[in-house]
Symmetry: C2
Subunit: 256 residues, 2 copies
């Protein structure tokens, strides 16, 4: 008899998020599910870790099939704790999300959902971050609930290259209009931040961060933004090597 799979699940919207519940239901079909998720929302927390405060673990459920614990830290903290202290064995796969909101294009850099998936991939665990293009707490997860299993099946069957994770974004459309998956590259472009400046009741200025993404290659059908705009779910394979190799020879000519 085949050993039951062990599936680590985390997210960045916190332990109470609807998207996490949705992902747990999807994961259950594949084996034992072990959830380690932040106590509170951690959107925009990127790859941050807690260096100045200790972490505690609160168990909400603890059975063979489903363990759920909450950690008052970042998504990456959750993965590190899971991998080093909490999991009974090395997981077969790690799933992050389902995030309420897009993590396509450069948003992958700010994303706590992908922070968790990338961290997990560093341990050599095949890892997938799922997001839907809907920020609402009541976001509709019909499309991932219907189609995310296909990806999980492939990852469990085929594996992923060492330290490679997947960034999967689903469009906000009716399920009937969904065209399936497209393998993509991260869309190049920048966020144009338009802080909203306000005055508090005591006359002091403060700023809210907002912003719009400016796509540098809006017509490039290889990009994740293009796929999403054309009713596909975008799958970008992700790996963390920040080195810009093209610049190495250029810099070697400098007078240093």
């Amino acid at each position: 008899m085949e050993k039951r799979k062990l599936i680590l699940v985390s997210n960045d919207d916190g332990i109470d998020a609807k998207g996490l519940q949705s992902l747990i239901e999807i994961a259950k079909k594949f084996g034992d599910v072990f959830v380690v998720a932040p106590e509170e929302g951690q959107s925009g927390m990127s790859h941050s870790i807690s260096l100045t405060k200790p972490l505690r673990v609160r168990y909400l459920q603890k059975t063979q099939e489903l363990t759920i614990c909450a950690v008052p830290g970042t998504p990456v903290d959750c993965v590190k704790l899971a991998m080093n202290q909490l999991l009974p064995a090395k997981p077969d796969i790690m799933l992050s999300g389902i995030n309420h909101g897009s993590n396509s294009a450069v948003s992958v850099v700010y994303s706590g959902t992908m922070g968790a998936a990338i961290e997990s991939s560093l341990y050599g665990i095949p890892s997938v971050g799922f997001s839907v293009l809907d920020h609402s707490p009541e976001a509709d997860f019909t499309i991932p609930e219907k189609f995310a299993s296909k990806i999980i099946k492939n990852v469990l069957g085929e594996g992923l290259p060492y330290q490679v994770s997947l960034n999967v974004n689903f469009p906000k459309i009716n399920a009937a209009d969904f065209k399936g998956y497209k393998i993509c590259k991260q869309t190049p472009g920048v966020w144009k931040e338009e802080f909203e400046k306000r005055i508090d009741p005591y006359g002091r200025e403060y700023y809210w961060l907002t912003g719009n993404f400016q796509n540098s290659e809006p017509n490039n059908s290889e990009t994740d933004e293009w796929a999403l705009l054309n009713n596909y779910a975008a799958i970008v394979p992700v790996k963390i090597d920040f080195t810009e190799y093209n610049s190495i020879n250029l810099l070697k000519k400098w007078d240093l």
Copy 2:
């Protein structure tokens, strides 16, 4: 007469860090300095942004030559606010640090210092993150104080490719042993986390994150870890595209 340069400075150790003072002194030689730094230490904050709390700005100094303001947010928040709201003009260069502690190898991913430099590079500003391999609040900045100007001069003279920043780490050695700069790639490897489990005075468990870096290519002289161990300062050109291009064709064969 040449226009005076405008230099944006930030860090992740916070407005009171010795390394920030050191970097301000270095920057002053090149033009007007505009500092926007976190109110408090933000080590390990990576590329995180504040989405659930508004930001305020506290001016500590405001002259033509030197402006200093503190923001109760992350390093990336500081850069975004500087670029969108605070700076009188687009800066000629952005300098981050000098960080107390290493940001070589995969630490670049967790680093708030490099978060700030990378964010600034996304706006097309040539940006450099400086770190020394000494976590102490009283770290010795003699080597960067003597040699960082060389890099700044090159960046101002030659520029950097669009959205490329530099991750510069200085070894913890006597200045007499310093061998100069080496252009490197990010060392591959992983952190082996060894959480320290403790019991609080009330009998409850908690965890402190610690860890050791395991170098996958310890003998590769192209890597930043090798350079640092051999008394060089390591310069890694950095760019943010998380796409793992080698995996795209592989994934296209999946049944999705």
